[in-house]
């Protein structure tokens, strides 16, 4: 007996079932942030695009959305994820030793769309752990460096101890083809670098606003200030992209937790053009 009323849906792999991944490398970034390299024990997840995230499962503890921070040009199926401890799940994930197994599903969400900056200037602004989702974007741009004019990275943290990817940052700074500004909100006397908000170097950077694509990730207040500054300088709001964060339980648009007004951030984000984000960020408690 067939039923006309009921649609027949194609059977696909369960999007809520995590794929086991073994921790093959564990790198401490800061006192509370760790980068894990995760190799699938079976088949790998589909390749990710810069800006996307996965849902990582610490067995028995829970699951959280984490941005992919690795190299998008790598083809080994290894996931690289940078995780800051903010609760029990992130504590369990960052505490997983090499050889331990976690679950991962994804990748989900929108990407930075770095190629859209080809022929123009690319500006990345990251604060604190916000550098994690920007790293793949920078790596992608550097892998195709000739396609871009200026590549500028403005990276900030509360203090020098909270700067992630320090080694890599040092390597980037030595390159002539990428302009790297590192700044911290506060530092002791032995910090040789700049003490300032990320908006300061951003304000000074030479830009051709109409041909600039800016990618922002960090605390919401940082995003709003940097975006306002870029808009003031004439960068169109559609070419300023921001990565937003909300509570997520499923990552696939079914749990309803990540709503920000009309946006389901797991699906319509995390990367959103500032033109779409600004009206939502302007409303309190949305």
């Amino acid at each position: 007996m067939t039923t006309a009323a009921a649609p027949t849906h194609a059977r696909r792999p369960d999007p809520m079932t995590p794929v086991p991944h073994r921790v093959i490398e564990r790198r401490r970034e800061t006192h509370d942030t760790v980068t894990l390299r995760l190799a699938p024990t079976g088949s790998a997840l589909p390749p990710f695009r810069p800006g996307q995230f996965t849902m990582l499962l610490a067995p028995g503890v829970g699951e959280v959305p984490i941005s992919v921070s690795g190299d998008p040009t790598a083809t080994d199926g290894v996931l690289e994820q940078t995780i800051r401890v903010v609760g029990a799940v992130t504590r369990a994930l960052t505490g997983t030793p090499v050889g331990g197994v976690v679950g991962a599903r994804g990748p989900y969400g929108t990407e930075w769309d770095v190629p859209s900056a080809r022929g123009g200037d690319l500006v990345l602004v990251g604060g604190g752990c916000g550098l994690a989702p920007l790293r793949p974007a920078l790596l992608e741009a550097l892998a195709h460096r000739a396609h871009y004019r200026r590549v500028v990275a403005v990276l900030g943290a509360r203090d020098p101890e909270n700067l992630v990817f320090a080694d890599q940052m040092a390597r980037w700074r030595r390159r002539a083809d990428v302009e790297v500004h590192v700044t911290v909100d506060r530092a002791g006397p032995d910090w040789p670098g700049r003490v300032d908000l990320v908006t300061a170097p951003l304000a000074e950077t030479a830009l051709e606003p109409a041909r600039t694509v800016a990618l922002l990730c960090g605390p919401e207040v940082m995003i709003r200030r940097c975006a306002a500054l870029l808009l003031d300088r004439g960068v169109p709001a559609t070419r300023v992209r921001v990565s937003l964060e909300r509570n997520m339980k499923c990552g696939i648009g079914h749990c309803g937790h990540c709503q920000l007004g009309p946006l389901l951030l797991c699906r319509d984000g995390p990367v959103v053009p500032y033109s779409a984000a600004a009206p939502q960020l302007a409303v309190r408690e949305l």
Partner: protein, 262 residues
């Protein structure tokens, strides 16, 4: 799994009826499994064993009503990595916190044959008024499933699932028909913290709030509806004046019962 030493557990009693500790003993099979996973080092209700701390987890029953208890709870806090209060006495002061709204001296002289034997503070206060509390298990008594869930969460390194939702969400998830809307039975479910599994409404009784208030309960609005259900001033006063009378969310409700019905 990495090797780990067996976590230690202690159970403490302050001013209370022991009912919540009995809930732990009621866990039976789960308790047997638990003793394989944790070392119970201090649990006078079950055993005379009282080994010194430190402890990984302390379950604390009862409220603080004497000066000696004020000292002991600070000690317990120092000895315990994680401190979980269990039951309305520990989380809100219990029914004995009714004294907070009255004159203890008067009670002492009226109730007891030899008032001088009674050594008590003027108030019954929750544990959290004295020391930092990591997790609260609400209820009079606590819910057995929640207790086992909190202990298994602790063993797995997980944040325990103790949502600050209303009893209504549990009631609806069970598929119950609302007693207030369908029967006109007064019910505190909308302002009461979940965790009991909507026990009373499942048996067609109104919730009487033994799990205490949710955060920021709108008791003023509920009281208007309780009046529609036929509750008068005295009943309204009484319904918020039980095991969680001193919990701020319910204590303030008593002032709102004076409002005339619309």
């Amino acid at each position: 799994m990495a090797e780990r030493s067996t976590p230690t557990l202690a159970v403490w009693k302050f001013t209370s009826c022991d009912g919540c500790q009995l809930t732990l003993l009621d866990c039976e099979e789960d308790l047997l499994a638990l003793t394989g996973q944790v070392e119970i080092r201090h649990f006078l209700e079950a055993s005379s064993r009282a080994d010194p701390g430190p402890y990984d987890v302390s379950l604390v029953e009862g409220s603080i009503t004497t000066a000696e208890q004020e000292r002991l709870i600070r000690q317990v806090r120092e000895w315990s990595r994680v401190l979980v209060t269990i039951g309305a006495c520990a989380t809100a002061g219990g029914v004995q916190a009714l004294r907070n709204f009255a004159d203890v001296e008067e009670f002492r002289s009226v109730v007891y044959a030899t008032p001088s034997y009674v050594d008590t503070l003027a108030t019954s206060t929750p544990i959290a008024a004295h020391v930092r509390v990591d997790y609260e298990l609400r209820g009079c008594p606590i819910d057995r499933r929640q207790l086992v869930a909190v202990l298994s969460a602790f063993l797995a390194g997980r944040e325990p699932d103790l949502p600050d939702d209303s009893v209504c969400t549990e009631c609806k998830r069970r598929g119950n028909t609302c007693v207030m809307v369908a029967d006109g039975t007064p019910c505190l479910g909308p302002v009461t913290h979940a965790g009991c599994g909507a026990l009373c409404p499942t048996y067609r009784r109104g919730c009487y709030g033994c799990f205490g208030p949710v955060r920021a309960p709108n008791t003023r609005s509920l009281i208007r509806q309780l009046r529609v259900c036929g509750m008068g001033d005295a009943e309204l006063d009484r319904v918020f004046h039980t095991f969680n009378a001193a919990a701020p969310g319910f204590a303030s409700a008593r002032g709102e019962t004076d409002e005339p019905s619309q």
